[in-house]
Symmetry: C2
Subunit: 155 residues, 2 copies
DNA sequence: TTCTAAAGTCAACATGGTTGACATGAGATG
DNA sequence: CATCTCATGTCAACCATGTTGACTTTAGAA
């Protein structure tokens, strides 16, 4: 299970710290990479990538979401959503149907296959998080959540 | 200072949690975005972006680094490094010189202007981190570091 | 019937990354 | 000296992900 840092050609650099908080910046960078690495590799095997996963993730948690709402949550333009979304529909990982009362909006849902891909990709990420939380215990996990909430709400 | 979540077109989605750890995945996503948001806006004003900042960041902490070592730390191909690196040299944010004893390698250094840009961009990120750490206190900060180290070393 | 909002589509473009192929410059070795 | 090798530089082709702008289609609402 121990992967070498060279597998990705990337390793946590031993850089001189110019500032007390430099370690935090680097941890954020390599932490993000560390969490997404295996999930991205899995997605790539399926011919998918991060934007596809983001769509599947959101639709899994908001069945019958309209495209407009999806676009707002993803924070990208409808044109940017269009390509990955169409691929997911073609590949039958998603279905879209007109709402009975709101025919304007198309409502998105995962198919069984879509649910499976979403779960497996997200599982890779959750496993990384679970291992990390296990290593530091409940209080460390709570600290992590507190910091990340503060950062996330900075936008 | 309070920015609306709509400024970016992106907001923390109120998504149903299918899994206990979903909150952690979302926090990582929005946390990364939150930390880099202001720095990216500053860099964009300078006509620069994240890859330029990464180069400046590394060279600031490893003066006289050779290009090959830089490539390895960044984890991208030399061709991908080439364009942003050349821009930084043209803009005189970086200098390169042949090493006296190792003429093969070019050694990179920041100019004063480069140091200034690097500091300002990194300051935006550090400020976000500092505020978050202040909000949760030392034990929370320690927990955050522990979790992020575990994740970062997962690669 | 006409107005409007949601969705879809098309074109052009920027950026950041990839591989592959090849040129150059300079130390190392026969 | 000649040649080998390695670090670097450069060029071309390509792909993915995003952008803006312009336009069409669809269908509910006025």
């Amino acid at each position: 299970m121990a992967k070498t840092s060279h597998a990705t050609g990337l390793h946590r650099a031993s850089l001189a710290k110019l500032n007390e908080l430099d370690a935090a910046l680097e941890l954020m960078y390599y932490g993000w990479r560390g969490m997404t690495l295996e999930a991205d590799a899995y997605l790539a095997k399926q011919g998918l990538s991060r934007p596809h996963h983001r769509i599947l993730y959101v639709v899994a948690r908001r069945p019958d979401i309209a495209i407009g709402a999806l676009i707002e949550i993803l924070g990208i333009s409808k044109q940017a959503v269009n390509r990955p979304l169409n691929l997911l529909l073609e590949r039958k990982l998603l279905t879209s149907k007109r709402s009975p009362e709101q025919h304007r909006s198309k409502l998105l849902r995962l198919t069984e296959a879509g649910r499976r891909v979403e779960q497996r990709a997200s599982d890779h990420e959750r496993n990384v998080m679970r291992e990390a939380f296990d290593r530091v215990g409940a209080s460390g996990a709570a600290g992590w959540m507190g910091v990340m909430e503060a950062i996330a709400d900075n936008n």
